[in-house]
């Protein structure tokens, strides 16, 4: 079994109004000095594949096909030890 974590984030040029709303709320809550917030998604995949290289390949295909919309989102993948 291999656990693979896929992080999906809006591309930098895509407006993230949810992240902006969080950033705007922070000063009101007493958190100063936050200059930006981007909100994304994290997926944890449990794969039967034991080779981490093959697991990473499979997760990449899953991310490209379903987890991320490449028009507006980037993803990054890491295998958890």
């Amino acid at each position: 079994m291999t656990r693979v974590v896929v992080d999906v984030m809006f591309k930098p040029e895509i407006l993230d109004p949810q992240g902006q709303a969080i950033a705007n709320a922070l000063p009101r809550l007493g958190f100063a000095g936050v200059t930006g917030v981007r909100q994304g998604k994290r997926f944890e995949l449990e794969l039967i594949e034991s080779s981490s290289e093959a697991a990473k390949d499979q997760a990449t295909r899953i991310a490209e096909t379903l987890l991320a919309n490449p028009v507006i989102e980037d993803f990054s993948i890491r295998v958890e030890e």
């Binding site: 809006f10 895509i14 407006l15 109004p17 949810q18 709303a21 379903l66 987890l67 919309n69 028009v71 507006i72």
Partner: protein, 221 residues
């Protein structure tokens, strides 16, 4: 004319009614069924297919019925996606670009003024170019976005079918409310023409012409 029901579709019944009022014969299509029942056109209605899980339209794109609709659309069958239907068409890559959360974060529900800019599609043939219409807009993730090259092509090729008038309601780039594919047979709209087909229930009857247009284009074909 087929109207697809996905789990979580809301506006399929209004779309069926709009097809009937426009003189078409509505055929209910089921998301889990690949059979398109020999329909001549398909409407993907609004709503929250599969609960909008993951991304709006992302799961619906892989529904069995879409395995039949995507190739049929590529072969020229008229397909109209409304609201969630537009999101599904973008996720299916039948239309370019994507929809994102409204710039103001709030769900927007209002009667929206639009300008019909492309009347060469089977869904808009009975409008006048530049005609202004009012139909409901109700969406939380209605902001259209695409990369600069895609936007340039949409504009150069006249593929912006409808544009928001007045204040931009959701941050859509270039006030885009609806687009079509290269062939013009696949049209996606964020606003809801199917809710504006009857004086009793809609703000206008301006939306009826989308459905009447495709009926007349199919009859004359």
């Amino acid at each position: 004319m087929g109207v697809v029901s996905f789990p979580g579709s809301l506006d399929d019944r209004d779309a069926v009614r709009a097809v009937r009022l426009a003189g078409g014969e509505p055929v209910a299509l089921w998301h889990a069924d690949r059979d398109l029942a020999r329909v001549d056109a398909v409407v993907l209605p609004g709503g929250f297919s599969y609960g909008d899980y993951l991304r709006c339209g992302a799961i619906a794109r892989f529904a069995p019925v879409m395995e039949s609709i995507v190739p049929a659309a590529r072969d020229g069958m008229p397909v109209l996606g409304i609201c969630n239907g537009l999101q599904i068409l973008c996720e299916s890559h039948l239309l370019p670009g994507a929809l994102t959360r409204n710039a103001g974060l709030h769900f927007v529900c209002r009667d929206q003024r639009l300008r019909i800019e492309n009347t060469a599609t089977p869904w808009t043939g009975t409008y006048d170019t530049g005609q202004e219409i009012v139909v409901p807009l109700k969406s939380g993730e209605g902001g259209y976005t695409a990369d600069a090259e895609t936007l340039r092509r949409l504009e150069d090729e006249g593929r912006v079918v409808a544009r928001y008038m007045g204040t931009n309601p959701n941050g859509s780039v270039k006030d885009i409310a609806g687009i079509c594919n290269e062939g013009g047979n696949v049209v996606g709209l964020m606003p809801h023409p199917e809710h504006a087909v009857d004086d009793l229930t809609g703000p206008t009857t301006d939306g009826l012409a989308f459905f009447a247009s495709v009926v007349s284009s199919l009859v004359s074909a």
